[in-house]
């Protein structure tokens, strides 16, 4: 029997290590657990399946330098946030938001000028 921990699932496919580190830092600062594993598929699939797999209902897909955050029961492809070649700050906030989705707190901005 596979027992899954209450964690945010991160599915990766050839991930950029720096971006992954920042995403994880964002989740950690919010005090939520996470699990990383590599997975087959495009970005939408990674994010969708990660969210579906997560006991907490929040998942992240990371495909090279592209990242997407997803919540359970949203239709595939309708990612809550999606980043392409983001800055570190945006990744940190994306991770924080995946945790805030569970804590039911307002999201931090991940795009635009105010992301710092």
């Amino acid at each position: 029997m596979v027992v899954s921990k209450p964690a945010i699932i991160i599915y990766t496919s050839d991930p950029d290590p720096d971006l992954l580190r920042e995403i994880c830092a964002g989740i950690e600062e919010e005090g939520v657990l996470y699990q990383i594993s590599s997975h087959e598929g495009d970005l939408d699939t990674l994010a969708y399946e990660a969210a579906a797999e997560s006991m907490l209902g929040s998942g992240i897909g990371l495909c090279g330098q592209r990242a997407a955050m997803m919540m359970q029961r949203l239709p595939k492809g309708k990612n809550v946030f999606e980043l392409d070649h983001p800055r570190f700050r945006a990744c940190r906030n994306l991770g924080a938001n995946s945790a805030r989705a569970i804590k039911k707190m307002p999201f931090k901005p991940v795009t635009g000028e105010s992301e710092s």
């Binding site: 830092a25 950690e28 600062e29 919010e30 005090g31 919540m71 029961r73 949203l74 309708k78 809550v80 946030f81 805030r100 989705a101 039911k104 707190m105 307002p106 999201f107």
Partner: protein
């Protein structure tokens, strides 16, 4: 058959009503419309809005404007209201002697005392001395943790202040558990080498030691004299999740009681009262002065400046010179305003005592005749100024099913609360009181510390809910509302206002319960109080119980909770009170315009 139009120019909306009068004198209402008032009420720019409203109303019955036989304008009440807010206490903290805010994720828990030192200078640290280390955001969390871990065996590091939002990240990598405060924006302002006390509250609680003057005294070993000085600090830290208090030798923290000044009512008697006695006593003084001729503030004080500002503002609007503008009524309301503490390190605020004042000015006759002339010139329709606003409103209100004479109307608009009592013998008593919708908006804005007045207006107008997931929200009354399609993630976790057709997000992070409390409180303070004040004024022998019917009209009567509040408050006096339903169809709107059309019949005879 003649087509008659009634036009009511209000502070914020212009309303029209179209009726047809047969030869035998029977009257039928055909149509109505309402538009934003263009320009200040009673001035020529109003014509634009009047025309637009008339066109809309005539369009509904598919008739050209030229088929109108007569346009009747109201004699707008020559009162203009304005509001102002002034804080009467002020906390000034110099030398940056405290940090107190609510970072979303501080780390560790408990309190500690130590000497302040920046991370880059930690090599100078001496063993045996407790240190609180300040870390700028140029150090990453990994680097900060590594440097600290290296020194922890020899140095007594007992607390941490971070500039970045990384408290949990650093804590997870630290070999010792210490309280950590983060998100301190102006960290460079921290005075190195000074003694400081740090406290982080347990999750779900707020700090206990640093929000207590004796707690600060215990930690920083203060003398009774110094303890008295830090009281404002303790006060401003109440309810915070984390705080730092720094002991500065000549630390200048003072709570100034500003020279709030005195206010003088020139009436049947002259009464003077100091503003800091609070709203209740100010209002008592107002009553004791009787009929008011003018109200003045002590020169060069806050209240003096405030009243001068209102006076000059009014003079600009009405075109009269400042000396001719007389303030004839005020409504004072106590409030608390969050004001940013001067010398703060992380944008701390302190709740300062404040008084909100709505004032009302009686002006000269508004230039209604000019508007009438312009209208008849532009539209080639006979236009006349007919009837006093309050009388017309009473007439219009009588079309509400279930009403009878004597009838009182309560017109709660933006700037003033007006009441009129129409007796069976045709006499009418009227009053205009300062304070209405705009004062409520101002109170909501200041008490919640909102950036924009628009948000405050919206909070006043719409019920709210909190978006708890992408598929549901919890409404302010506890009910849940579910959605087929997912809600835009921008709304997630936010309090939103449910405006018709859209959701409006409140940017500020304020709990829904708090917004609800402030909103209800502001409406109670202004509307309920003013309603009783105005009705008492027009009631026979000033006895509220002698008014059988009160009909609420005007913009604020459309509010989703004010009519209920008033009903409850007036039930005590056995008054039938409710939202008007003009002509049985229009709701509380259009009373004056309807009254103007009705009064045409009377004027014909």
């Amino acid at each position: 058959m003649k087509l008659i139009a009634g036009v009511d120019i209000g502070n914020s909306t212009t309303e029209v009503c179209i009726g047809s009068v047969e030869e035998n004198g029977s009257l039928r209402f055909l149509s109505g419309a309402s538009r934003m008032t263009t320009g200040t009420k009673g001035t020529l720019p109003n014509v634009l809005g009047i025309k637009a409203a008339l066109e809309e109303a005539m369009d509904r019955i598919r008739m050209p404007l030229s088929s109108l036989s007569l346009i009747r304008l109201n004699e707008a009440a020559p009162v203009i209201g304005d509001t102002a807010m002034e804080t009467i206490t002020e906390t000034i903290i110099t030398e940056s002697s405290m940090i107190g805010h609510n970072p979303s994720t501080p780390a560790g828990a408990g309190e500690a005392v130590g000497e302040l030192i920046f991370l880059e200078n930690i090599w100078k640290g001496k063993p045996g001395v407790p240190y609180i280390v300040a870390v700028e955001s140029k150090f990453s969390y990994e680097e900060a943790a590594a440097r600290l871990n290296q020194r922890i065996p020899e140095l007594d590091i007992c607390g941490l202040i971070l500039q970045a939002d990384e408290a949990v990240l650093v804590e997870n990598r630290l070999s010792r558990e210490i309280p950590i405060v983060d998100e301190v924006r102006h960290i460079r302002k921290i005075p190195e080498g000074k003694r400081a006390a740090i406290e982080v509250a347990l999750p779900g609680t707020s700090i206990r030691m640093l929000s207590n003057p004796y707690g600060i005294a215990t930690l920083l070993e203060l003398t009774p004299e110094e303890t008295r000085m830090v009281t404002p600090i303790a006060k401003s830290l109440i309810g915070k999740r984390s705080a730092v208090v720094i002991k500065t030798p000549n630390g200048n923290v003072r709570e100034n009681v500003l020279p709030a000044g005195e206010i003088t009512f020139n009436g049947e008697k002259n009464v003077t009262i100091s503003i800091d006695r609070g709203a209740d006593e100010i209002m008592d003084a107002l009553y004791s002065a009787g009929e008011i001729r003018d109200i003045e503030g002590e020169p060069r004080t806050n209240v003096g400046n405030m009243l001068t500002r209102i006076r000059t503002g009014m003079a600009d609007v009405s075109g009269a010179s400042g000396a001719d503008v007389r303030i004839t009524d005020i409504l004072a309301v106590d409030t608390l305003a969050p004001v940013e503490v001067s010398g703060s390190l992380a944008g701390e605020t302190c709740m300062e005592k404040a008084v909100g004042i709505a004032a009302m000015v009686k002006t000269q006759q508004l230039p209604m005749r000019q508007i009438a002339e312009r209208l008849s010139h532009d539209l080639h329709v006979e236009t006349m100024v007919a009837g006093v606003e309050a009388v017309m409103a009473s007439l219009g209100a009588l079309t509400t099913p279930g009403t009878q004479l004597p009838i009182a109307i309560l017109d709660m608009g933006g700037g003033s609360t007006d009441a009129a009592l129409l007796l069976p013998d045709g006499t009418v008593r009227t009053t205009h009181q300062a304070g209405a919708g705009e004062l409520v908006s101002m109170l909501i804005q200041t008490e919640l510390g909102l950036e924009s007045r628009v948000t405050a207006e919206q909070i006043k107008k719409y019920p709210m809910g909190k978006v708890e997931s992408l598929f549901h929200m919890r409404l302010e009354n506890g009910a849940m509302r579910f959605f087929e399609e997912s809600i835009d993630p921008r709304y997630f976790g936010h309090v939103v206002l449910l405006a018709p057709g859209e959701m409006l997000r409140i940017e500020e992070d304020i709990p829904m319960e708090r917004i609800l409390e402030v909103r209800r409180d502001a409406k109670q303070k202004v509307f309920v109080r003013n309603a009783i004040r105005a009705l008492t004024h027009v009631a026979p022998d000033h006895d509220l119980r002698k008014i059988p019917n009160v009909v609420l009209v005007g913009g604020s009567a459309e509010d989703f909770e004010i009519p209920e509040m008033l009903m409850q408050a007036l039930a005590e006096y056995r008054i039938v009170c409710g939202r008007g339903n003009i002509r049985g169809t229009e709701g509380p709107r259009n009373a004056v315009a309807t009254g103007l059309v009705m009064s045409y019949l009377g004027s014909r005879r």
